[in-house]
Symmetry: C2
Subunit: 293 residues, 2 copies
């Protein structure tokens, strides 16, 4: 397919590379033009503007920082989108904004999918991303050749539902990080070896990717990101906004939002990996100590 | 080894069976004598009392309901334990109580290990239990032939530390169940298909045994236990007691304790599987609805 790919960051770059390698005809654009060169070397056509990139495309993919960036790019190229083009936004943005974009594009005869991903840069490089897709079933079918080289795509509902699923994913991630931190911290305080405790419970009902990956980071006290705490806080803000719109109770997410706000704002640790919630927990315990008066 | 096994319930029965099958010489006792017959059929010697069971044993294993049951059995047989016997309590009891039992037995020259397990009846049957062991390193070494047929044993510290690790495990389980419930509930309320959302995020950072097992139960709304909510509440009470003794902050566990108390006491659902915390969450959301005045 003739595909335009807009946004060649840490995720978009390797994703565009995989689409070229699987035989698609790619035109690419990025705000920082230096990032376009590796794709040119692989055979992509370069475009100077979003509007220039999308002319004649069968599918347009955006992989940008946030909803404002997507909207800005959309506004600058909407006139150039042909009716019948498939627009696939793989950025992580608010569900309500994804629905607005779909409505705007429908007026122009363009079918839109929201298709955020999980799996990080390793998943982008290896084509093993989890792709959560919202939009019409017919558009999802048409997008199959685009998704196949990138990972495992599952349609979860209409416009915006992909973004909802991404937030649900982030919700589980944040709370499970909190669970693992709390258990490692309790083990240490109560006289069990936290590393041995973690080793002992691996593979049982407590097993998770978070226990494996973030648990190891906590034990090593290596909070190099990974996923930044500031981003986790932004995700939790979006989760609570969505939950408010949907009248859904989210007691654990609400607590984790407050705790990440403390870590990022009061403690100034937004650049640390989200496993650093352990530091916020330790600060809570320091406040509990009977030796502190 | 000559092993006495006291307590042949859902877990103890298959564990004793595996020890016989691996060549150990077993004497068994159970309060309800009917449960001894299958072990007798496998070649175990039956005992009428705990004291009768432990005479001449190299190792004594208890697998009982709670700390009170262990203490009662210990009191009734302590006079019959020979110095040098290895006492292994595989029941799940409070860490402080495990330490008291170890102290009592040390006076008699008996080495004690606390060695609670995780992995359920399937793990007991298949010999794949996670065994979390507290006690002296020498006793742990001596117990190797006992643990090997039952699962993977890891020493996590001194007396009581095995019970600490078990509570840490239960802590992660309870909170992760809460995380999965909250995500499935938000997906449903916000217009994504919860089953498709779960399928889409499987294998990513949100992956866990709880997402796999308890997530499936929540989607099917099949709350047949599994692990009873009343037991989860008891575990959380023990977790908070331990955390209080250790001055460890446990904000998520504290919240889950209150929520399980609501589910079990106010809603009367203690017999349901612990994945039924979804019902408590749905009740919270019903209270949020703008249509409810």
């Amino acid at each position: 397919m003739r595909i335009s790919f807009l946004g060649l960051g840490l995720m978009g770059g390797p994703m565009a590379g995989r689409l070229i390698a699987s035989g698609h005809d790619l035109t690419v654009w990025n705000r920082d033009t230096a990032k376009m060169q590796p794709l040119a070397d692989m055979g992509a056509t370069l475009a100077a503007t979003p509007a220039g990139a999308v002319a004649g495309a069968e599918a347009v993919i955006t992989m940008l920082t946030d909803g404002a960036a997507v909207r800005s790019v959309l506004d600058s190229m909407a006139e150039s989108l042909q009716p019948g083009t498939l627009f696939i936004d793989m950025s992580s943005i608010a569900p309500a904004q994804a629905r607005r974009h779909a409505d705007l594009l429908a007026v122009r005869g363009v079918q839109a999918l929201d298709a955020p991903v999980s799996g990080g840069t390793a998943g982008a490089r290896d084509g093993t991303l989890a792709i959560m897709v919202g939009g019409e079933a017919s558009a999802f079918e048409a997008a199959h050749p685009v998704f196949a080289p990138l990972g495992r795509a599952i349609r979860v509902g209409g416009a915006g539902a992909g973004q909802v699923a991404k937030l649900c994913n982030q919700q589980i991630v944040a709370i499970t990080i909190g669970a693992v931190a709390e258990a490692l911290h309790l083990a240490e305080r109560a006289g069990a070896d936290p590393a041995a405790m973690r080793a002992a419970i691996r593979g049982g009902f407590a097993e998770s990717r978070i226990l494996e990956l973030h648990g190891a980071r906590m034990l090593a006290r290596d909070f190099t990101p990974g996923g930044r705490s500031s981003i986790q806080l932004k995700d939790l803000d979006n989760i609570l906004k969505l939950a408010g719109e949907a009248n859904a109770a989210t007691p654990l997410s609400t607590m984790m939002r407050e705790r990440y706000a403390t870590l990022v704002q009061a403690m100034g640790q937004g650049e640390l990996d989200h496993s650093a919630i352990l530091l916020e927990l330790e600060a809570q315990s320091a406040g509990l100590s009977p030796n502190r008066t």
